[in-house]
Amino acid sequence: MDVLRDALVWLSESEQWSGDGSLPRRVMEHLYYTGLAVVVAALVAIPAGYFVGHTTRGSTWLVGLAGAARALPSFGLILLLVLLFGVSGRETAAVLALVVLGIPPLFAGAYSGIHQIPRTVIDAARAQGMTEWQILWRVEAPLSLPVLLGGLRQSVLQIVATATLVAYVGLGGLGYDIIQGIPLRRFDQTVGAAIVIVALALTLDAFLALATRLATPRGVRVGRLADVRAR
């Protein structure tokens, strides 16, 4: 437990809180890569997931592809992409590797969110005369939002944890303190930075958990507590 105490002491030292390589700066770098990767991943994965969920076209191979992408080792992918893009393109390379990591849970969330809606609901909407776009935006999107946000939570959690690796190609972030601390045997620094990453991940997750609660349509939430028709 000494290491943990040393880490807390390290965290409380003032030089960790201001200046060039300080923690606030590292947190900002970390959040920058995380945020950028999540946004790009969402722009790719959500439309694709909606398309497959709504039309059920291409579901077999797209779902399979997204599953297979989960198996890609991120560290290897970052280095591979840096070699492809060159060192001057390392920022793009690192973000792209994180995007690849973030797509599968988001895609699965968007796809299965729509997929789990009872077909009768969608048929009813169609019978009312709604166009396909109206069905997507007014029925499927709101009803699938909680599941999509679940996918977003997973995606954010994986990306924020893996963004630690961008330090290996000189892009900073909280991983920097970890990979610098190990060879220097400064375990207070290594563990201290790890604690900050964990805290960051938990904060983001709590925030998204709250958002998921708020985004759940009232009818869906009530329906979860008690079957309304049984009253």
Partner: protein
């Protein structure tokens, strides 16, 4: 399985009081009488290596040389970093390990002032914990060095690190820990008056140098890419870097007998030979065992 072998060999070699210290022999102490031992040809020598391809090749050379001298060898390669394997060496679980004088000295004596090869070796012998002995050091080095591209060197007439002083906009690339090392940016400024920015390029340091993202790269002197890409290694007249020669570290109880076999190998392993060995691994993708066997036979061992 090894414990039986070790116990057998111990019975055969009880007199060697040194062997009793090997740590595998707890309890054998009472039985150690003062009598001449038979040669310990059946003893198992455990050779370890770091998780670094070049280090593994050297360890494999030691292992094969010991085998052809009649020893039974157990290989414990790729153990990892010093924190992982030094306790193994100190406890006697590993008998022989290829190390690097400077880096090892820095581990045991972080405040050392020695930088030249002989000083470092001498100080290392004093700094090693009880039970470990440094065998003869090799002329081969695998140490930190600062490198620039041939064009950059020609443009600025660079030969030594001191020639960098006064050049604006220098960016030093290397592993993240270089930022905090005594020979990093601070050392460059204090020893040579060279001002650099730092970029933690890590594994992509050489690529970053070739692309011009950084101007100065910390590359190990044993790295074959220095020759492959025609990099210019700047000389270090002020001894900024700790000299780091290849040095076999042995358990003291077997050091004397191993030295007879390993010392000639260390002397034959030149800096150029080490780079050539590394190149065969990186470029030709040969296994450590093949590279070691070829080198041993070429050099008449």
């Amino acid at each position: 399985m090894t414990s039986t072998t070790i116990r057998t060999s111990l019975t055969a070699a009880l007199a060697s009081a040194a062997l009793v210290l090997s740590g595998c022999a707890a309890g054998a102490e009472d039985e150690a009488p003062e009598m001449e031992a038979a040669p310990m040809m059946t003893e198992v020598i455990v050779v370890g290596s770091q998780a670094y391809y070049s280090n593994e090749i050297i360890a494999e050379i030691y292992a094969q040389a010991l085998e052809s001298a009649g020893y039974e060898v157990e290989r414990k390669f790729q153990i990892g970093q010093r924190d992982a394997y030094l306790p193994e060496l100190e406890s006697g679980a590993v008998d022989l390990f290829p190390e690097y004088t400077g880096n090892l000295l820095q581990f045991y004596a972080p405040d050392t002032m020695a930088t030249q090869a002989d000083e470092v070796y001498e100080e290392l012998q004093g700094a090693l914990p009880e039970g470990l002995t440094a065998l003869a050091m090799s002329p081969a080095t695998d140490q930190d060095s600062y490198n620039v591209t041939a064009e950059f060197a020609a443009e600025n007439n660079l030969v030594s690190i001191a020639d960098l002083a006064g050049i604006d906009g220098l960016v030093l690339g290397g592993a993240p820990e270089l930022e905090e090392r005594p020979y990093g940016p601070t050392g460059l400024l204090e020893t040579y008056g060279v001002v650099v920015a730092f970029d933690a390029t890590g594994d992509i340091t050489v690529d970053a140098l070739l692309e011009g993202v950084i101007s100065l790269a910390n590359v190990y002197s044993g790295d074959p890419r220095i020759a492959e890409f025609g990099l210019v290694t700047l000389t270090d007249p002020e001894g900024l870097f700790l000299a780091s020669n290849v040095v076999p570290i042995a358990s003291s109880d077997v050091a004397a007998e191993l030295a007879a076999i390993i010392d000639p190998i260390s002397l034959a392993l030149t800096p150029e030979a080490l780079v050539a060995l590394n190149l065969q691994s990186i470029k030709d993708q040969l296994s450590a065992a093949d590279i070691a066997a070829a080198w041993l036979s070429e050099n008449g061992f």
